[in-house]
């Protein structure tokens, strides 16, 4: 039972962390290597809110806004000139990640920070005592996933975004302001990354380099998922599940590379990942 819950909640956490990256990759075809930095920014928003003595839940909107405002600037000044050079975009955003990491270090120091747990304690699930926060993360992931499909399927922005995904030239020809769609998508992606950063704080320690480890994992998952949130959920469940199983039964250290290795193998066999399924 604990194992099942571990698998479900780990997948949920991976999903939360990777959503922002997928949003940007799906529409812009750009891999935002500063993703880890945004997670860190989000986590430090939680730290800052805690230091200011405010309600820890307030960190969520703060991080979303901080993330999207930073995203707006990034899209405008760094990513936009590089749409035709996707590999260079990886590098430029990685460089930006270094810059953000150093700025955070200058502001908060390089020490590990602690934040108030949003939901402390455990709860009983079918007779098993389990971390209440991890259950909350599971719920949050489901809400996030459903919210996103609603946004993509049910709103005008979602329709435009899907049009850009399918055929950007045509979308532009039909009078859609694709530049604006790109900007808004990027902002949503980075905002979500900030949000994910806050949600991570009760689970990991907060330090200026915390994002890097998460970046690689979510990058792999997004590569496997392609452009679909359904595929991302599936990838998180399968690869995250494999990670939990390897960590539990073989070795936690090897568990750490499970996602990366499996993703590489899946992509080698089926270069489009789960996108075709």
């Amino acid at each position: 039972m604990t194992l099942l819950l571990d698998i479900a909640t780990s997948a949920a956490i991976l999903f939360i962390v990777a959503t922002g990256l997928l949003t940007i990759f799906g529409v812009l075809k750009i891999i935002n290597f500063a993703h880890g930095a945004w997670l860190t920014v989000g986590a430090y928003c939680a730290v800052a809110v805690g230091q200011a003595g405010l309600n820890p839940w307030l960190a969520l909107p703060v991080a979303f806004i901080a993330g999207s405002v930073l995203g707006l600037l990034t899209e405008r000044f760094i990513v936009r000139p590089l749409y035709s050079r996707p590999l260079d975009a990886i590098l430029a955003t990685w460089g930006l990640g270094i810059v953000i990491g150093q700025l955070i270090t200058l502001g908060f120091g390089r020490d590990v920070q602690f934040t108030a747990n949003l939901i402390p304690g455990t709860m009983d699930i079918l007779g098993t005592s389990y971390s209440a926060y991890r259950i909350f993360a599971l719920v949050a992931a489901v809400v996030l996933g459903l919210g996103f499909s609603l946004l993509m399927e049910g709103t005008r922005l979602g329709l435009s975004a899907r049009a850009v995904i399918m055929n950007e030239t045509l979308a532009r020809g039909l009078g859609l302001d694709t530049a604006k769609i790109r900007t808004v998508t990027f902002m949503i992606g980075t905002g979500l990354a900030g949000l994910a950063g806050v949600l991570l704080t009760p689970l990991t320690s907060v330090d200026p380099t915390m994002g890097v480890a998460w970046l690689v994992g979510s990058f792999m998952l997004v590569m496997v998922a392609g452009q679909s949130f359904g595929a991302l959920a599936l990838a998180c469940l399968l690869l995250g599940g494999a990670q939990v199983i390897v960590s539990t039964y073989i070795s936690p250290i090897l568990g750490g590379v499970t996602v990366a290795v499996l993703a590489a193998v899946i992509l080698r066999i089926s270069p489009k990942g789960f996108a075709r399924a």
Partner: protein, 588 residues
């Protein structure tokens, strides 16, 4: 012409050797003026500069963005340290560690290369794998227990007894040797193949070059070089740690390469040494500010100056193009031995469908030497698809395509080209960053193995290819960069490249589209000569019926994925069905 060609090449070569000699002097006499701190820092930086060179060869020249060099470096370093720690550090072991530190990363590199570069693999995939490899290696090191020293690494083994000055000189000499070898290689004819792959991998494949194999070989060879750097590092520093193999170190290598100037070899060397030295100097006083500065500079450079500081300093685009004008030499055509009397090309019941939509159906066609077959039909009839099915063994969904009696099913384009098929694309597919002569040499790569050290001052081509160059005036522009050619000149160049392959059958997809009347006539004359006099066969996709009538020996009409007519010029041109198709008839 020979004189003007020889001088700049010789001068460049001499300059290179003078530079190398100066660098050796610096390295040998450096320890007399540098303090201990500088010696230490620079020894490390020079070892890392070797890694930056390998990143530059992969990324700057071949276009493979890699973070994985750190992993091969780490493997080399760990192989050395583990051997010295666990087996003992006798002179024998110190000597044995050299081949081990080179071979183990090479084997790993070959395996990684094989995994990464498969037909149709994407650029992103190579980058993904280059992330996975260092992560896996680092985790293996962590889980290695006492064998690898886990998170604290290995320390306390006895390395080469060289002292600070000795290691400085050894690292410096190795760096000079690697840099010199890299510079000679990238300027050689073989080195230009890397640029050609970065530029236009499809064209390389259709010139019979096995690009996957080249990339795998390059990855393996450079993994060996990084392994050697690992050996030096393990000896010089006396400690190896998991960070040495990590992907963060891999990204640092890319940053140094980018800041120094990708695609220049010297730039990345200076970048690695400069940043390494400055980091050590400044990081004590303002550690975070220094990282911040490097990060910001990197972002700005990637956006505004992708070729790095070296481009700014030398304007290397001009100097790199230092004209090498080879002499054109006619080479006899190397005829392939024929097996039996099967037709040159034999297509039987070929089919191609996307899902339930059939693009080609029941195509049966054979072509013999000396024929010039025109393939006509309205847009969407499946002409280009048919061409693709003849040059890519994975394209067809049914039926058989045979070349000289051999089925091409499952073959890659480069295998098919090797069997005597040349393909010219609809949109001229050439190498934008090479010169005309270099493009033509690429076409000869599969026939005359290029040199790894020199730039040849002759260019041997078949007489037919030379004729095309002369007719189109390209023979006077051999040193011109392809990016400056006109549309028509690019079309002619691609035709000359395909003919230089000495194919038995040449496939041409609208070779005259967008050309002037004169250029058309020239190409028409060339094609007639090639087929009628030189015994080559050609299949030509063409819309211009007048042009087709003038030059073809046979015309095949394709309509809605089916072959509706196959006959002589007279038969086809006067047939009712052609008139119907082309006047819009009942099919609209």
């Amino acid at each position: 012409m020979t004189l003007t060609a020889a001088v700049p090449v010789a001068r460049r070569a001499r300059l290179l050797w003078i530079l190398a000699a100066a660098a050796v002097l610096l390295v040998v006499f450096g320890p007399y003026v540098l303090d201990r701190f500088a010696l230490n820092v620079l020894t490390r930086a020079m070892i890392f500069a070797i890694l930056a060179i390998t990143v530059d060869l992969l990324w700057g020249f071949t276009g493979i963005l890699t973070f994985g060099q750190a992993a091969f470096f780490g493997v080399g370093a760990y192989a050395t340290a583990m051997l010295l720690t666990h087996v003992g550090s006798s002179p024998l072991m110190l000597a044995l560690a050299v081949p081990v530190a080179i071979l183990v990363p090479m084997i790993l590199g070959a395996a990684v290369g094989w995994l990464t570069f498969y037909p149709g693999s994407s650029d992103f995939y190579a980058t993904i794998i280059s992330l996975v490899v260092p992560i896996v290696i680092t985790q293996l090191i962590y889980s290695g227990g006492t064998l690898t020293g886990s998170s604290s690494g290995l320390v306390g083994y006895w390395g080469l007894p060289l002292g600070l000055e000795g290691f400085f000189r050894l690292a410096g000499l190795c760096l000079v040797a690697v840099a010199l070898a890299a510079l000679i290689f990238v300027r050689s004819d073989a080195g230009r193949v890397l640029t050609a792959i970065r530029n236009n991998e499809t064209r390389c494949a259709y010139l019979g070059i096995n690009t996957q194999r080249i990339k795998i070989a390059l990855t393996a060879a450079l993994a060996g070089v990084t392994g050697l750097a690992g050996y030096l590092y393990a000896n010089a520093s006396g400690v190896v740690a998991p960070e040495n193999a990590g992907f963060v170190f891999g990204t640092e290598l890319v940053i140094w390469t980018a800041l120094g100037g990708r695609g220049t070899i010297i730039g990345p060397v200076l970048g690695a040494i400069g940043i390494g030295y400055l980091s050590a100097q400044l990081s004590g006083d303002l550690p975070f500010l220094w990282q911040l500065l490097i990060g910001s500079l990197f972002v700005v450079m990637i956006i505004f100056l992708p070729n790095g500081l070296a481009a700014l300093a030398t304007g290397f685009r001009q100097s790199r193009r230092a004209a090498v004008v080879p002499d054109l030499v006619a080479r006899p055509v190397q005829r392939k031995a024929h097996r039996g009397d099967a037709p040159l090309l034999d297509i039987e019941k070929l089919e191609k469908s996307y899902g339930s939509h059939k693009v080609l159906e029941d195509i049966t066609l054979s072509v013999r030497p000396g024929e010039l077959v025109s393939l006509v039909g309205p847009n969407g009839a499946g002409k280009t698809t048919l061409m693709r099915c003849m040059t890519d063994g994975a394209a067809a969904s049914g039926g058989i395509v045979r070349i000289n009696g051999e089925s091409i099913a499952g073959m890659l384009p480069n295998d098919i080209v090797a069997r005597g098929i040349g393909r010219k694309f609809q949109v001229a597919s050439v190498f934008e960053s090479l010169t005309v002569a270099e493009c033509l040499r690429m076409a000869r790569t599969s026939l005359d193995a290029p040199s790894f050290v020199t730039v040849s001052d002759t260019l041997g081509l078949s007489q037919s290819a030379i004729d095309i160059l002369k007719l189109t005036g390209l023979d006077k522009m051999l040193d011109a960069p392809v990016s400056l050619l006109s549309h028509g000149q690019k079309q002619s160049l691609e035709l000359a490249m395909v003919v230089a392959l000495e194919p038995e059958l040449i496939l041409l997809d609208e070779p005259t589209a967008g050309l002037t009347k004169t250029e058309r006539t020239t190409i028409g004359a060339v094609l007639k000569t090639l087929t009628a006099e030189r015994g080559m066969a050609a299949i030509l996709v063409e819309h211009d019926l007048d042009f087709v009538r003038d030059i073809s020996s046979r015309i095949v009409v394709l309509h809605q994925g089916r072959l509706v007519l196959d006959g002589t010029v007279g038969e086809v041109v006067n047939s009712d069905i052609v008139k119907k198709i082309y006047s819009g008839g009942h099919h609209g």
